[in-house]
Symmetry: C2
Subunit: 134 residues, 2 copies
């Protein structure tokens, strides 16, 4: 079912500083900042040869990332995103195996403009997993 690792999302308290570390210290290709008010986050992509790192930071106080950063003030790895060929089929298979979604129901449009679902960390070794249609 799962294919490529689409991205690793790292929540950071200061996206400008974090981008500088990846650009100037690690010498990585770093995108411009992209604000996504509909998701309450700002994002910077670190382009690696085989996948990408997504730096995410809150855009406002009600951001879904704020709670995570309160618990992890220095930042931390927030989630992993695996690609799936067909998100509806993935949901069907997961429900057959009684494998709960974080928010059951239809997939939502994710930050990359593709349908996504999130799996509950309690079922996945404490890791938040996003499945994104290829």
């Amino acid at each position: 079912m799962i294919g490529k690792l689409n991205h690793v999302a790292i929540a950071v308290p200061d996206i400008t500083e974090a981008s500088k570390t990846y650009r100037n210290v690690f010498g990585a290709k770093v995108s411009e900042q992209i604000d996504q008010p509909e998701h309450g986050v700002k994002i910077v992509f670190i382009k690696l040869p085989n996948t990408q790192i997504e730096l995410i930071s809150p855009l406002n106080k009600n951001s879904p990332i704020s709670k995570f950063l309160k618990k992890n003030p220095n930042g931390g790895i927030h989630h992993l995103c695996y690609e799936v060929e067909n998100i509806d089929l993935a949901i069907e298979k997961l429900s057959e195996k009684d494998f709960g979604l974080l928010e059951p129901g239809k997939p939502k449009l994710g930050a990359h403009g593709k349908p996504v679902i999130f799996l509950h960390p309690s079922k996945c070794n404490g890791t938040l997993i996003e499945l994104q249609q290829e």
Copy 2:
């Protein structure tokens, strides 16, 4: 400096259960368990088309993973490993930028039999980063 994402390491309390989830629920290619007494861990690789996930679990009570699992009993993402062309050059560049290593000095032989260093999470947005020679 950094190249491919070599692996994402997920610390898990029960490596057999975690392997089953990846094999049976996620339909991923899962390796046999590899015991590494010299590192105090047992490892299972999840082979994805573009990178790999490394499930790690303690082999004994003094394992470097035990402390992490005490803090995160369900497991969690432990570190990211980026490849670098030349580990000695990477150490030189990091020290020029006053960017501390977790254990300063020479690189060690990592779990993949290649020279590695670890960077301090306080410098990297709360994420533990391993650099591994290609």
